[in-house]
Amino acid sequence: MSEKKNNIFSTLSSMPAAIWSSVFRNNLPYTDLGRSKTSFNNFFLHIHPVKVHRHTLKPWFTMGLGLISLFLFLILVVTGVLLMFYYVPSTAQAYDRMLDLRGSVAFGVFLRNMHRWSAHGMVAAVFLHMCRVFFTGSYKKPREFNWVIGVILFLLTLFLSFTGYLLPWDQLAFWAITVGTAIAGYAPVVGEQMRFLLLGDTTVGQEALLRFYVLHVAVLPVVMVVLIAIHFWRIRKDGGLSRPEEADIVEPAAVGTVLATPAPAMAMATAAGGINVIEKKNYGIQGLVRGPFAKVGNVPDNSVFSYPNLLLAELFVFILTVLGVLLVSAFFNAPLEEAVNVLHPPNPAKAPWYFLGLQEMVSYSAFWGGVGIPAIEVLVLLLVPYFDRGQKGVGKWFAKERLLANTLFLTFVVVNIVLIIIGTFFRGQNWEFVSPF
């Protein structure tokens, strides 16, 4: 290099490499040091820990449901922003804009399908993710608060999809907004005020559409992004995903230099005799990090490098998610009902499937079905980790020690699914009981 310093050709010919290496600080890594640095120096990768526990990578443990939720959310952001280029939040125009997507916008229908089906998928994925977290006892100390954030994320997901399906201003939208805000009106004390704030008027109309639009495209997504960021941050700070105690046992011979390992391994290490466990010195390449993953050097334990192990797993889930959404969107069109007719609700007027359980409950009592019981359910969900504080059975599906808790939760899940099934298949004209058979 030095002899050719002034040669314009060599400057030019080495320019791509110079640019490349300034953007990507590391070459593709072939050593452990390289693998840590890659995770560390890249903005997108540094969300990951440098190393990840083997147990976390077992596909059946998480079933990738949290990741699927995240990827569906990302798909929703991208397709949603694209749809915004054509959408107008006006009662006079919104519905026509939906028809335009069919008629005069390239890929219009396809994007709308992707957006709608991803939204349905996200409700399902987030709910299933919550089930997996419960059935594996993963909300226990120190993860209590991440469960609470999760419950809020679930509610946000529902509210996002609710505000979303109002936007086409078709029959479904109009009657959903009518019924939904009327339910809010039943809340004690603040109910009527809340309804007025949501609608921006005394009746459902232009003001309401504008308000739900702002909530849907600006307020709620921003809150969601912030909370997802905290959710992920806390997973790291809580020492990665939960896992059973056995998962941390390493062959005694290899334990020698393990520092700051979780209790059982530590106990074994001390039992093995003559080993200096310097508890304070648990900093590593990440700087000073509390928790089971901070260690000096590359010590044998049950963890592997995130790059490439975790990344490949994530890539796999990502591809599956995108593929699923693309396939469904290619074969099924997102529903669009008739234009709003303020005199005739469709008969029967049904919400999307995930709200049909609620609709079924509301058809017995507006207050109890729409406000009372849901409020109690949310409150109990939020408090779950503070009721159930035993430390047994963490990180295992359907652990024997958690039979009672799991049975209760399973009942809750089954009851809600049964209500949804009744609302979907057993209700006909005028919400009368019909048999689908």
């Binding site: 009518t178 009327a182 009746t203 303020v342 005199l343 008969n347 058809s363 009592s365 729409g370 919400w431």
Partner: protein
């Protein structure tokens, strides 16, 4: 901020100038936060609304021959005439606000299955209250007027 300074701080009387300032500052910040949340709520609460007027004309009695049971969509009332008696009954379901269907035998709601008899009394379903009756009156020009701002007791007919 030296060590010596801190030591002095701790040994001085319980309410030092620094403590008072810290207290005032935090009260100021918290107060501003409360005020700003409150003013944001005031901001998003509209002062003027664009809803329909509560009083409106529905034409002359001749437009509604005896036996009429008809729903007016924009105004969301049903106009009913039996002989020379007339009434205006709301068609907004008292359950969750869907528009009920009007038939010979009463009203039925498609949303969660509430049923009402001819006078708007609940006969089934989750509706908590009967459909309200509104005041009907005759304007000087001979047209009927409904005032949705004024409910009258069910069964209080207007004679034309």
């Amino acid at each position: 901020m030296s060590e010596k300074h801190n030591a002095q701080e701790e040994s001085s009387e319980p309410i030092s100038r620094r403590k008072v300032l810290a207290w005032l500052t935090s009260m100021g910040i918290m107060g501003s936060a409360v005020v700003s949340v409150f003013s944001n709520l005031v901001f998003i609460k509209p002062r003027a609304t664009y809803g329909q007027p509560t009083r409106f004309s529905i034409g002359t009695p001749d437009d509604y021959p005896p036996g009429t049971r008809i729903a007016l969509g924009d105004q969301k009332v049903a106009i009913i005439r039996e002989g020379s008696k007339m009434a205006a009954i709301s068609i907004t379901c008292t359950h969750l606000g869907c528009i009920v269907g009007v038939s010979e035998t009463g009203f039925a709601c498609p949303c969660h299955g509430s049923r009402f008899d001819q006078d708007g009394n609940v006969t089934g379903g989750p509706a908590p209250k009967p459909l309200p009756w509104y005041e009907l009156s005759m304007a000087p020009n001979g047209e009927l007027e409904v005032d949705k701002g004024k409910e009258v007791t069910a069964g209080k007919w207007f004679t034309v």
